[in-house]
């Protein structure tokens, strides 16, 4: 049978969804480098197996159960069918059935979102958590926590169907859920040794590589062009290009906002805060990216940049969050979700078929209230479940390494090797060799013409 012009639509949409999904997959490299850069050298290596293990566990769990709970049917609480992605019938996944992309493409796209959310959880836990805790929580997170809560908002569950909560690409679903898990873990873990002095004042524990952090932020920024524009799940009509513009100008305004704010506070152009500003703005624009017109994007991004700086400084007084995940993903995620209630354009709400216009257009607080409800519901449920899970891990397997192990660093304690081995190792293979008799010694090589002291 010859392919016809009608076959082009699913082909184009599937192509775009897969391209966007591999952009999002690449964000794992961003999280990897971000966490390495913000850690001390003795904890650089442990991030590598952590990110790979989390991504892989998440893939298997989301394939087996997660996708079915998130999208398999219109139930108010969770989906019911589609385990092991056992069908290619797009109609069985009603919340994402409007897209012509194949079920496989949709699965992959939704899976990489789950993996991003899981990666965010570990930002607060660096340099002291036991490796096994990653693995245990990853299973529960990608099988139950993320799929069920994302079903409420992405998958046609009660928050979107009954209330019309707007979250285009997941300020709440992906970022707030991840940051909430991070918050629960942090409360049970406590700060790194030496973070707070005897007088309770926070000490600085600088990360060891700002160049890696910079690379990480640019990789994440790059990945976001799959994250938000890809959430159209389709290419027809070219809506995704508008969302690229919205995403990019919001991030740009976030960098400017964060830099300006930290300059006003400390009179320095802080490296880490500039990076946090970009991430916070990208997180904030994630929910409204499909709902707002261009003019609102820089405002949302700029405010996120201000929020993240103030939030990092305030949180640091009490809670030891090495990468600023609570601020950049949590506070900015909340702001981004709420900003829909202010800036959503009525025409775009209608186009997406979710909720109504924001306060700016309608003068009505209704959508803002719905957004607040969504934030509260997602935060509360994820926090309670995560806290219980981490509490059980702490009581049985243990959540934190011994004090002495923390001082040596997780690299050597958990993995038997350093991330940067030459720092701590004598040159290998330096056994004693008896000197060769003069006749067998190699002759000095002749100096090439032109390199002698007299010149050529």
């Amino acid at each position: 049978m010859q392919p016809t012009l009608k076959d082009v639509i699913p082909a184009v949409e599937t192509t775009w969804v897969i391209v966007a999904a591999v952009f999002v997959m690449f964000m794992q490299a961003g999280f990897l480098l971000l966490e390495i850069g913000f850690s001390r050298m003795k904890n650089a290596g442990t991030v590598v197996p952590k990110v790979l293990a989390n991504f892989s566990i998440c893939a298997l769990c989301y394939w087996a159960v997660g996708f079915a709970l998130a999208f398999g049917g219109p139930g108010w609480f969770a989906g019911t069918h589609g385990t092991f992605v056992n069908t290619a019938n797009g109609a069985l996944f009603p919340a994402i059935a409007a897209s012509h992309a194949t079920v496989s493409a949709k699965w992959f796209f939704e899976f990489v979102f789950c993996a991003v959310s899981l990666a965010i959880v570990w930002g607060t836990t660096l340099e002291r958590i036991k490796f096994g805790a990653y693995l245990i929580y990853a299973i529960i997170f990608s099988t139950l926590i993320y799929p069920i809560v994302s079903h409420w908002i992405f998958g046609g569950g009660w928050l979107v169907k009954t209330f019309g909560m707007q979250d285009f690409a997941g300020s709440t679903v992906v970022h707030l859920i991840g940051a909430t898990g991070a918050f629960a873990a942090l409360l049970l873990l406590g700060p790194r040794e030496g973070k707070y002095g005897r007088d309770g004042k926070p000490n600085v524990i600088p990360g060891h590589s700002m160049p890696l952090v910079g690379l990480a932020v640019l990789i994440l920024w790059f990945g976001w062009f799959g994250f938000n524009p890809g959430s159209t799940l389709g290419a027809i009509g070219g809506r995704f290009a508008d969302i690229v513009v919205v995403t990019n100008i919001a991030a740009a305004a976030g960098v400017v906002g964060a830099m300006l704010t930290i300059w006003l506070i400390t009179r320095t152009f802080d490296m880490g805060m500039t990076c946090n500003g970009a991430i916070a703005a990208l997180v904030a624009i994630t929910a409204p990216s499909g709902y707002v017109n261009f003019w609102a994007a820089p405002i949302i991004g700029f405010i996120a940049g201000v929020i993240v700086v103030v939030s990092v400084i305030l949180i640091d007084k009490r809670l030891d969050d090495p990468v600023g995940a609570l601020s950049a993903h949590g506070m900015a995620g909340i702001w981004g979700t709420l900003s829909c209630g202010i800036f959503t354009a009525p025409a775009l709400a209608k186009l997406n078929g979710v909720g109504q216009g924001g306060l700016w257009y309608t003068g009505d607080f209704k959508q803002f209230g719905v957004q607040s409800l969504g934030v509260a519901a997602a935060f509360t449920s994820v926090f309670v479940i995560s806290f219980v899970v981490f509490f059980i891990i702490k009581a049985t397997y243990g959540l934190r390494v011994e004090s002495e192990e923390e001082r040596y660093g997780l690299d050597i304690v958990e993995h038997g090797m350093w991330g940067y081995p030459e720092q701590f190792m004598p040159v290998p293979g330096s056994e004693y060799h008896p000197p060769a008799p003069p006749a067998q010694r190699p002759r000095p090589r002749p100096v090439p013409v032109g390199m002698t002291a007299r010149g050529g």
């Binding site: 993995h415 090797m417 190792m425 004598p426 290998p428």
Partner: protein, 122 residues
Amino acid sequence: MKKIEAIIRPERLQSVQDALDELGVSGLTVTEVMGCGRQKGYTEQYRGSRANISLLPKLKVESVVPNEVVEPAVEAIVGGAWTGETGDGRVFVFDVEQSVRIRTGERGEETVSHESRIGWGY
């Protein structure tokens, strides 16, 4: 005038430094060093193979102090560096013949003495 040289655990530097500052010691020099001793080494694993590492990271702290400060300074270092576990390190004391402050050309013991704590670092 004596030079005190101490090999200590890296994580004890802050308390050693605070204790010396309390005494009014005028300055110190810190070097990252590797060494072996009674603490023994450890085993690294790399893709299934083992490597035995005998050298451990330590810090060497050096300071030149007036004669009457030597004993309290040694006590301060021992107190600050002590954990009670094997590997706490050593303190050595040497005679020093001369000391010159480069900026002014002053010589002698007053170049290394201070009356009040100077508060390093800020």
